[in-house]
């Protein structure tokens, strides 16, 4: 079922890249339309899965990735509609398509264990997904910042110069995405910690919930990296390009946690 949104996202990706290169309004409108169609199809898929399982499908790595992509694209559509700026789409969509390919081709079976239910569990997972989507946006914005920065610095005002918003706008968008992501990451980790402390400990996964578990450890490292970026980096003069690199590094850690660690390493969060 996840194949339909994937197909629409792929078409939207092609349209966004085409629009970025050619800057024709028709291709831009087509890109947005395809993306909206993809997000609607995706909403339908998640809705159907929720009805089927009786809960929001968040308990496999694949379904969590699918939900992150959904949140990421919703956040992107919001920025596109409020700023009327489509240039970012060409950078966000490749990431969304790559991530969405995982649930589309390797869907997991949702685990209905009691330990993975309840309001605290939902808040924990949803907060983290929002955080990861924000970090994905920050990373993409950071990459575009570096591309534009290099063009201006090298005095070759070309492709990106004509298409991207100003460095200042990119920098503040990046900063905003980082702060929003950090807030959700903090909430997610804190709620997760409370949740782990109050559930009965007979499930092996609950027993493994400590800093020794790689997924939890890497999430905490992520939190440290983003805390530094959100609050300390600019005070010591790490604005602009360094901040952009830091967003890319932070998101690389998020991806590491999301894909290889979720699938192969963790014992407490093997969903």
């Amino acid at each position: 079922m996840n194949l339909v949104p994937l197909a629409l996202y792929t078409l939207a990706l092609i349209a966004y890249v085409w629009h970025f290169a050619q800057r024709q309004p028709t291709s831009g409108h087509a890109a947005t339309t395809l993306l909206v169609a993809g997000v609607l199809a995706h909403t339908f898929v998640i809705g159907m899965q929720t009805m089927q399982a009786g809960q929001v499908p968040l308990t496999t790595a694949a379904s969590a990735i699918s939900a992150t992509v959904w949140v990421l694209l919703l956040a992107y559509l919001y920025t596109e509609m409020t700023t009327d700026e489509r240039a970012m789409g060409a950078f966000i969509l490749p990431l969304a398509v790559a991530l969405q390919a995982i649930p589309a081709f390797k869907p997991g079976v949702d685990d209905k264990a009691a330990v993975l239910q309840g309001p605290l569990f939902s808040v924990h997972v949803l907060s983290l997904l929002f955080a990861y989507a924000s970090f994905a946006l920050a990373c993409v914005i950071g990459i575009t910042y570096v591309l534009l920065f290099k063009e201006i610095k090298a005095k070759h005002l070309g492709f990106f110069y004509a298409r991207l918003p100003s460095l200042q706008v990119l920098d503040s968008m990046n900063q905003r995405a980082i702060v929003i992501g950090w807030v959700f990451l903090t909430i997610g980790l804190f709620v997760g910690w409370i949740y782990a402390a109050q559930i009965p400990g007979n499930d092996p996964r609950v027993q493994a919930m400590s800093l020794r578990d790689p997924k939890i450890l890497v999430a905490v490292i992520c939190w440290a990296v983003y805390s530094f970026e959100a609050f300390a980096a600019r005070r010591i003069g790490w604005g602009g390009r360094r901040s952009a690199y830091l967003s890319a590094l932070g998101f690389a850690i998020v991806l590491l946690n999301f894909v290889p660690i979720s699938y192969f390493v963790t014992t407490s969060h093997n969903f």
């Binding site: 800057r23 201006i152 918003p165 100003s166 005070r235």
Partner: protein, 460 residues
């Protein structure tokens, strides 16, 4: 009915002549009224900018329209016809559309792709609108030209990139800082170049412009000339550099006044807040190695000129795409123009039907009470309207001249439309109401070829 254009531009006329033929200076309204008073063309629009003066019109005969326009220009500006003639271009019908579309797209401008021309074309049309000088033909032509201008700007890169050094500096500043409001500009040196660039920045709404010079009196004089700027002594240079976002250096110093080490010291307390250095001095005022510092963007006059050259080359490469858009739109306009050929037949057909209706109603009138007669009037008018609706739409949708002629011929024969009335309507375009009928009647009564321009029905 023909479209004609007579004009001069930077391509055909020297600046002295262009200065003399400036309709804008004497008011477009006055020019349009003076043209209307002559009664030589049916519709008119006057486009007047510093690089061109053009008269667009609609007339019955091309040659008559052209000479009327040339005569008007010479009379209105007290010029000798002989001195004007070699510089004037005259085009007709679809070539008028092609010319105007190219003008609106910026393809005919001195700096290809410059954006002001579209606004000037709109102003010209608006002026003609308020004086009722533009009618159905020129309204359609000008609205199409606005669409062409917009398409070329959005679909091609013809208008992109700065093509002057000072605008290149401003657009770079915008790309670094976004909005320039709230930014501080520091001008080092009190010369003319620095002043000009500062004025350009000031027009972008920057927060503060400060002039610093080795001679305080010079700085104060320049600050006063800029207006709203302040002057500061040379000793405060470092403090000012710390606060500035954009620095323009334009001193006559023989060696760099800002070295890399100097800028590094300035940048430290700024915590990497970006600094845009525009070095327009020759020899240079800023050591080129200063551009290596993170968050320092250094552009000298050569860099800015290179940017301008690149932009001009890029614009040139977009010309073909813009021309093809113009071609497409001329084609569309041509189709519309050809479909107008059916209008006289439509008018004649309606008049024929209405005449039959009226004669039958009049015949009955004597035998009917007043209220019933009114109802009969309404019903018969409605029946005629409904019967003619589809044929009218079909005729107006025809786009090639041959089909239009064949349909007109057939309808003419079937309904006996080849009356002198239809002929006279042919020359008045689509005016259908009785007011127009009497106008054309009056003209034929006078027996001259004088047309009555700019008298349009308020509602069609």
């Amino acid at each position: 009915m023909h479209l004609v254009l007579v004009g001069i531009s930077h391509r055909t006329a020297p600046v002295e002549l262009r200065e003399r033929i400036d309709f804008q200076a004497r008011g477009l309204d006055n020019a349009l009224r003076a043209l209307a008073a002559r009664g030589t063309v049916r519709e008119a629009v006057v486009l007047s900018t510093c690089n061109r003066a053009e008269l667009y019109g609609v007339c019955d005969e091309i040659d008559q329209g052209r000479s009327a326009f040339v005569e008007f220009i010479t009379d209105f500006h007290n010029l000798d016809r002989q001195s004007l003639q070699p510089h004037v271009y005259q085009v007709a019908d679809l070539d008028v559309a092609r010319h105007l579309f190219r003008v609106a797209a910026g393809l005919d401008s001195l700096v290809v792709g410059e954006p002001q021309i579209l606004g000037q074309v709109k102003e010209a049309h608006a002026a003609a609108g308020t004086t009722h000088a533009a009618g159905p033909f020129l309204n359609r032509l000008f609205h199409s030209s606005f669409a062409v201008g917009k398409r070329v700007r959005t679909e091609t890169g013809l208008g992109s990139g700065a093509v002057s050094v000072s605008f290149a500096a401003v657009s770079l500043a915008r790309k670094i800082f976004g909005d320039l409001k709230g930014r501080n500009v520091l001008v080092v040196g009190a010369g003319e170049m620095g002043k000009l660039t500062a004025l350009h920045m000031k027009s972008q709404g920057v927060h503060q412009v400060t002039i610093v010079s080795r001679t305080m009196a010079h700085a104060a004089r320049t600050a006063e000339a800029i207006g709203g700027a302040s002057a500061a002594p040379w000793e405060e240079l470092d403090t000012l550099l710390g606060n500035a976002d954009i620095v323009i250096t334009a001193t006559g110093a023989a060696s760099p006044i800002l070295t890399k080490a100097h800028i590094e010291t300035v940048m430290r307390p700024r915590r990497n807040r970006p600094l845009f250095l525009i070095d327009i001095a020759m020899p240079r005022d800023v050591e080129s190695a200063a551009g290596e510092i993170e968050q320092v963007f250094l552009y000298n006059i050569d860099d800015l000129q290179a940017t301008v050259r690149e932009n001009l080359a890029r614009r040139a490469s977009e010309v073909a795409r813009a021309e093809s858009i113009v071609g497409e739109e001329v084609e569309k306009f041509g189709m519309w123009l050809r479909s107008r050929g059916a209008i006289p037949t439509v008018v004649a057909l309606r008049q024929r039907f209405d005449a039959v209706r009226r004669s039958e109603v009049d015949r009955l009138a004597a035998t009917l009470p007043a209220d019933v007669r009114e109802k009969v009037e309404d019903v018969t008018r409605l029946v005629v309207e409904k019967l003619l609706l589809t044929p009218t739409e079909q005729l107006k949708a025809l786009s090639d001249t041959e089909t239009v002629a064949a349909y007109s011929e057939a309808l003419g024969r079937l309904f006996g439309l080849t009356s002198p009335q239809a002929q006279s309507q042919e020359s008045t375009g689509e005016r259908t109401d009785s007011e127009d009928e009497t106008a054309s009647q009056r003209r034929s009564d006078r027996g001259d070829r004088r047309v009555e321009p700019f008298v349009r029905p308020q509602k069609r």
